[in-house]
Symmetry: C2
Amino acid sequence: MRPVSIEDNDLIDALSRVISRHGFEGASLQMLSDAAGLKRASLYHRFPGGKAEILNAALDRAAERFEVMLAPAYEDADPTTRANALAKSIDGYYDGGSESCLIVAMSLDDDERRTMASPCINAWTSAFAKIATDSGTKPKAANERAVDLVAQIEGALVIASATGDTTPFARAMKRIPETLTSR
Amino acid sequence: MRPVSIEDNDLIDALSRVISRHGFEGASLQMLSDAAGLKRASLYHRFPGGKAEILNAALDRAAERFEVMLAPAYEDADPTTRANALAKSIDGYYDGGSESCLIVAMSLDDDERRTMASPCINAWTSAFAKIATDSGTKPKAANERAVDLVAQIEGALVIASATGDTTPFARAMKRIPETLTSR
DNA sequence: GTCTATACGACGATAGAC
DNA sequence: GTCTATCGTCGTATAGAC
């Protein structure tokens, strides 16, 4: 199977980081082209639709990377093992809490764009809920616990960005297994 | 004592809401003047320093409003009573989770501005920690629990903004008393 | 496929009439 | 104290050479 790269993933990742860190409005083409190591006009060659298309590419790529990040939840192992692996995976994705989150960035945009990251939130919630239900938690309670855990992590990322303190994020990571596998 | 209003608080609140919802870069003078019901030039009469001064006013005002919001934590009552009152106060401040948070908005700005909301975070954390220590939790653990609870709430606000679902926020509010008063 | 050069609008900010 | 009018700059986007 051909896993893609019709468009350069490294390029999109660099662009995505700028958007995650500064928000869509805050991410100027100047910043984006600097991060990409390309001139503005060259970005338009890759993304004829301009910033909007860059954002879409970033969101598509985020969905892709999320799938990888969340994969441990769906492996063939007992819930605790999966929860531990998932926590490690998430911790790596956000580099111990020092990476900004595209979900947070999108939550500040115009009304049309504000909900564009909700598929990512749903995927994340589903992955957590899967482990919780596999641990014997009823679906409804599992879903609540799952969203709340996502919120905990998003909030920890905000705190880390605002204060530089990544310890709340670290505690959130540590709490993933116990939260998802306890009744 | 004269509690202020050298500058019109209602005006600043309207401006602050725009910044909280769109971020500092995303909040154009157009949006700000529309929300204020004043023309751009009139805003410059009130805030000669332009957007930067508006932001400072919004942050000062946020600190002021936070003090009011957090006041229940320091009243003369038992921890559980205070925790309940505080939860209600926070719930009102964020209108059940439908209001955006300036802290989240600031976390997306340039490096200079990114940490400008950390005093608010600290005040919030201290208020929570006070109740926790008064309930017999040791200072270090109380502080961790406090920041984590702030993160939980911030994350719930992000989720609400991104999906429209305010139930995680509602659960966070409900969890405040039990989190702060349990050992 | 990347570059330089440039068009054009929006934005932040200021001057000055009322 | 609010307005209209305007300035310079930056941001998005395009044209066209290499």
